[in-house]
């Protein structure tokens, strides 16, 4: 009983801290903290989306940066057509409205996930890892060679998308928009994970043979999970493009897929908030280590090794053990 009260209390505490963060950051003179926290939230969404297929569904996708990048490019491309005033394919006019770009990013990344997933999910295991990686790299090289949209250099978005009534040029406003979307995202993810759909997805991870024997046609459920997960990454990409005011092929590069995976593993595979925690640890470590040395990846690698070998379930599990929630 105590446990069931503790968790909502902890969540409420974290939420209040996140709401207060920009104010505190400004007051104490660490204004950069707000930007750091925005990145954590955005990567948290992406990592949690990846975790839905990887941790809950047992589908190890090594190509989720593809959907992250697609989300970013949707914002970038729509903005370019908006600012140049020439419609995409001659009939789709560009836009700089967040209320349009985000849904478009969701739809486009969802469609790409359906396409990539439909082909990749015919395989499993190592083949699945390789084929998702291959698709992401194909997209990477496609965008590198797309000179219209900046090619190698990426697309600069001069101004962040607008949201009626809000000044999106203000870093704090962007932070609060990201926070609101993150909260909404996690509420939806929490419902999905505990729904009938989530139930069969988690069942499939444990034993596909068993799920087939009780009459589940697995493929369509795995595909749906893959699409949901791709849409989540697309959402994160669209937010990131707005935050950085930049979309580039780097967002699709396989190292980005790797980073997302590292966040999931750092935080805790197959847990709701683990990936958000993992994203926070990853980004904070990145900034701290990078300020000491150029070879910050070495330090990060050692810490990842420690987490994988000794925490039995990532930072989330470590925290749970340290603060007395013994499993």
């Amino acid at each position: 009983m105590e446990k069931s009260l503790k968790r909502p209390a902890l969540l409420a505490g974290v939420l209040i801290a996140l709401i207060a963060l920009p104010v505190v950051a400004d007051a104490t003179g660490y204004a950069a903290l707000t930007s750091l926290a925005t990145r954590v939230l955005i990567y948290g969404i992406a990592a949690a989306s990846l975790n839905f297929v990887l941790g809950y569904g047992g589908m190890v996708s090594f190509g989720h940066a593809a959907f992250f990048g697609i989300g970013g490019y949707v914002v970038g491309i729509l903005y370019q057509h908006y600012s140049l005033g020439e419609p995409l394919f001659g009939f789709i006019s560009g836009t700089n409205q967040l209320l349009i770009t985000i849904p478009v990013a969701l739809v486009v990344s969802g469609l790409m996930a359906a396409l990539i997933g439909a082909l990749s999910l015919r395989t499993g295991g190592v083949q699945f890892i390789m084929i998702t990686l291959a698709f992401a790299q194909m997209l990477f090289f496609l965008f590198v060679s797309l000179k219209t949209y900046g090619g190698d250099d990426g697309l600069i978005i001069r101004r962040a998308n607008e949201l009626p009534g809000l000044n999106m040029r203000d870093k704090q406003t962007v932070y609060y928009v990201c926070l609101a979307i993150t909260v909404l995202f996690f509420v939806i993810l929490w419902r999905i994970v505990n729904s009938r759909f989530g139930n069969v997805i988690v069942g499939l991870r444990q034993s596909e043979k068993r799920m087939a024997a009780i009459g589940l046609p697995a493929y369509r459920y795995k595909l749906m999970a893959f699409v949901i997960s791709g849409m989540g990454c697309g959402l994160a990409g669209a937010l990131m493009a707005n935050f950085l005011r930049y979309a580039s092929p780097d967002m699709i590069h396989w190292t980005k897929s790797g980073e997302l995976m590292v966040m999931v593993i750092l935080g805790g595979v197959g847990t709701l908030f683990g990936p958000l925690l993992g994203a926070a640890v990853f980004i904070v470590l990145e900034s701290i280590l990078a300020s000491w040395t150029e070879n910050w990846q070495l330090g990060l690698g050692l810490i990842l090794l420690f987490v994988v070998l000794y925490t039995q379930g990532g930072v989330q599990a470590l925290g749970a053990r340290m603060f007395g929630r013994r499993a």
Binding site: F197, N199, V200, Q206, I214, G215, P217
Partner: protein, 251 residues
């Protein structure tokens, strides 16, 4: 009377090996039809083909007179076919209750429902509890499957299979690895189910087979060499040399 299961001319080849050799097999309504045979005779292979997990090279399968030869596993299950596994195959991270509830959930139709909490669905939970009670696992409902004894897992396998409301149960060695007492319980349980569901029982435990079966077929090297009542099979000389005889020598 149409048989529940009607298999005609089933053939399965693995390269040069003939794992199933022109098998004809029927299970009548309400019948327990036992399939016995030495190790490697192709019993599990036959069950896998009936479930559609393996594709046969030749032959037809009918369930209640409906052809199911080309249907995928999920469809066959929804039409009333269910199996248990020789080596138990359950969802280890879920509780006993969850394992049964998910089978009921899948039976009820598609699972594209994204919002309601599945563990708060009273209908599913209660239904699952009644199946657990039937399998003697009522007080183990909230235990994780990974913590169950082997015998309890075998019982749960049966409960999960029944939760799909099958017309025909394919039982792949339900007594394997059970102690004497547990075997007796399992025999009683299967006997109690006899009026609800027809069964194809693959089993090595002769005591169980003779206690339960209405008819017995003997499978040797993928071929059915004899089918008949318990007494006919017991007295069949060919069966004795091929199968039962081995047992006598060992004893």
């Amino acid at each position: 009377m149409t048989p529940v299961l009607n298999v005609q001319g089933m053939v399965k080849r693995f390269g040069g090996l003939l794992a199933t050799d022109h098998v004809d097999l029927t299970v009548k309504p309400g019948e327990i039809h036992a399939l016995i045979g030495p190790n490697g005779a192709g019993k599990t292979t036959l069950i896998s083909q009936l479930m559609g997990e393996l594709k046969q090279n030749e032959g037809t399968i009918e369930l209640d007179g409906q052809p199911i030869t080309t249907l995928p596993t999920a469809k066959r299950v929804s039409m009333g076919l269910a199996r248990t596994f020789q080596i138990t195959c359950l969802l280890p991270d879920y509780t006993v209750l969850d394992n049964v509830a998910i089978a009921i959930q899948v039976r009820q139709g598609h699972s594209f429902r994204f919002w309601g909490n599945v563990r708060h669905e009273a209908g599913l939970r209660e239904d699952a509890r009644s199946y657990l009670a039937g399998a003697g696992l009522a007080d183990r409902a909230d235990e994780l499957v990974a913590n169950l004894s082997h015998g309890e897992q075998k019982q749960l396998e049966l409960a999960v299979a029944l939760a799909t409301k099958p017309r025909l149960l394919l039982l792949d060695e339900p007594m394997a690895g059970l102690g004497h007492l547990e075997s007796q319980q399992m025999i009683e349980m299967l006997r109690g189910l006899k009026n609800q569901v027809s069964m194809l029982l693959v089993e090595h435990d002769m005591e169980a087979v003779f206690a339960l079966a209405d008819r017995i077929s003997v499978l040797v090297y993928g071929r059915i060499i004899a089918t008949g009542s318990v007494d006919e099979i017991r007295d069949n000389p060919e069966v004795r040399t091929a199968y039962l005889g081995e047992g006598d020598e060992l004893c």
